[in-house]
Symmetry: C2
Subunit: 340 residues, 2 copies
């Protein structure tokens, strides 16, 4: 499909790329939202309350929109991409509910988290419900291949979350170790969402794999930008607090680079104390951000994200050239220029 | 298949019925155990550690053995009942890991729970992994119907767990309210395990439904006996502490009956304080057990369990008469005479 990156007007930002995709898939997304609402229903009234709190709080619906666009890129006109896209969003919702328990997060999408409003037990169990519902929805696609891709993805996501627990606070973490976490916990669902969209459209192995690689690289870029925003973002736009990763002693790429860049024992000890032991005082976040600024670790993280966004763009060369793939190209291209 | 209950030697107990079933399915169970071990593997080494701690601690493997027997009752000779039975046990394992977090349980199968040994976060995430793996295994059966049955069952189980949270400590709970919890959180997986076994064997709707009803009623009987054992069992045989349900303020049938039987305001206030508010002193469990003894609430719970075991037996009348169904009949018949 030529060189999509060159044709994109640079004044547009990530949010406008998301909006373009959502406009192109507007009728589908409305059906997806209706499907999600229907599948949150339960005779146990706490379930739609807890799940609805998270899911109606907005969120970009990025993963389902990628699924829809991937299916539509092949001119797919059947009903199954709707169930599939809803299933993808429910898996994402389930992982968010469990993540917020594991990280003891207090704020998401500008609202108190479900674990704060209802409790950890409720979040764990409603997460399980969403996860189960997502598989019920996938069955409706009638495609065992879709079920295979997404059950495998769910395993990989859980592995990524456990790996993150195991590497969290480990100040010896390398770029490669961190990338394993990112690929598993974030990029795998983007990869599966894109690939499965192509699968319901009957795209064939080569193009399914091209979409998988697109999703994987987009997902890595997306997470790396997330990691940078955690130290530099606008809290209102983010819908969560700046510095959450730091306070949790979470190893992310800006921290890996900062630890590598420590100029003396005192700086190394600073990272060991604040990240390795999460023994933090009030001024530590600001000092961490100064060190990151001095060594440009946020800029280097965004450079790295850019390289993955470019890989995602390249994957689209193997795919049909139409408005869907053009919009997906813009999404990847602008993924490093987002504010939230 | 005639009147199976009459032919059963009464000196046998539940454990011997389980052993008979396990002998009849010995080669299959070995394959199931191998499949489970293979599917606990992960590059993230904490996962097989945490999952193996639970799964290798024993447990009766009751649900997978029911799946295997249901498939074999129709002379099924293919490979898919193995993956299916392993998937059923992994779903069960996932729910146990999450249950123990939700209930803050400290002991299971005679060992400290995973949440005590590793932590709540690890248990939540490894539970998610097991759940995902179970769906990967189900895909291997190649049967969308199996996936439909078990994804629906997983939803119902999660609903049952949330319903239990919502009704826990509610001293106004009725028999019907409690039965809803039991059907969802316990009996549904037995029902799905039995039904799906018949499905992989291609049994047809009537017989699949008969197996579903068998599993459902067996599961209810099994849970009611569990509830009685929580107040009367031998801790060593149980592998957990007596009185756990009481300490958690959990509404179970012995408690529903005991609250109904309160003879004066003082006794009503006792249940309201100990169960409704979980404000308990050291002697409360023993006093609760005295009241239960006086009003025979454990005996009445077992009578109720017996009625469900009889329903399970009746379901078998619609099914082929062979050594598998005879062993399943014995299992149901003796389900109320178990010590652990």
């Amino acid at each position: 499909m030529g060189e999509p990156a060159k044709s994109i007007a640079r004044e547009r930002d990530f949010q406008s790329a998301v909006l373009t995709l959502r406009e192109l898939t507007a009728a589908d997304m409305e059906a997806v939202n209706g499907t999600i609402v229907n599948h949150l229903q339960s005779s146990v009234k706490m379930i739609p309350e807890v799940a609805g709190h998270l899911i109606n709080a907005g969120g970009k619906r990025l993963r389902p929109v990628v699924t829809l666009a991937a299916a539509r890129a092949f001119g797919y006109d059947g009903p199954h991409h709707i169930s599939l896209a809803a299933a993808v969003e429910l898996i994402h919702g389930a992982t968010l509910l469990h993540d917020d328990v594991v990280d003891a997060s207090r704020l998401r999408r500008g609202l108190e988290t479900a674990n704060v409003v209802w409790g950890n037990k409720e979040s764990v169990l409603v997460g399980d419900f969403l996860f189960s519902r997502s598989f019920e929805l996938m069955v409706k696609t009638g495609s065992l291949k879709v079920l295979q891709i997404l059950s495998r993805a769910s395993c990989v996501i859980a592995e990524g979350e456990v790996l993150q627990l195991a590497t969290q606070q480990n100040t010896k973490s390398t770029f490669d170790m961190y990338l394993d976490v990112v690929e598993a916990k974030t990029a795998e669902l983007f990869a599966a969402a894109a690939q499965a969209g192509a699968v319901v459209a009957g795209a064939g192995d080569v193009q399914e794999d091209a979409f998988r690689q697109y999703g994987l690289n987009l997902g890595i870029a997306y997470q790396l930008v997330d990691d940078a925003l955690d130290y530099s973002g606008n809290e209102k736009a983010l819908g969560k607090s700046v510095g959450d990763d730091f306070r949790e002693g979470k190893i992310t790429l800006p921290v890996v680079y900062a630890i590598e860049s420590a100029r003396n024992n005192e700086e190394a000890a600073f990272w060991e104390r604040t990240i390795g032991e999460t023994a933090q005082s009030e001024t530590d976040l600001s000092h961490a951000m100064q060190l990151m600024h001095r060594d440009n670790t946020l800029g280097r993280t965004l450079d790295c994200a850019r390289s993955y966004a470019d890989k995602a763009l390249n994957c689209l060369n193997k795919l049909p050239d139409n408005e869907m793939t053009a919009a997906l190209a813009e999404l990847a291209d602008l993924s490093i220029s987002r504010a939230s």
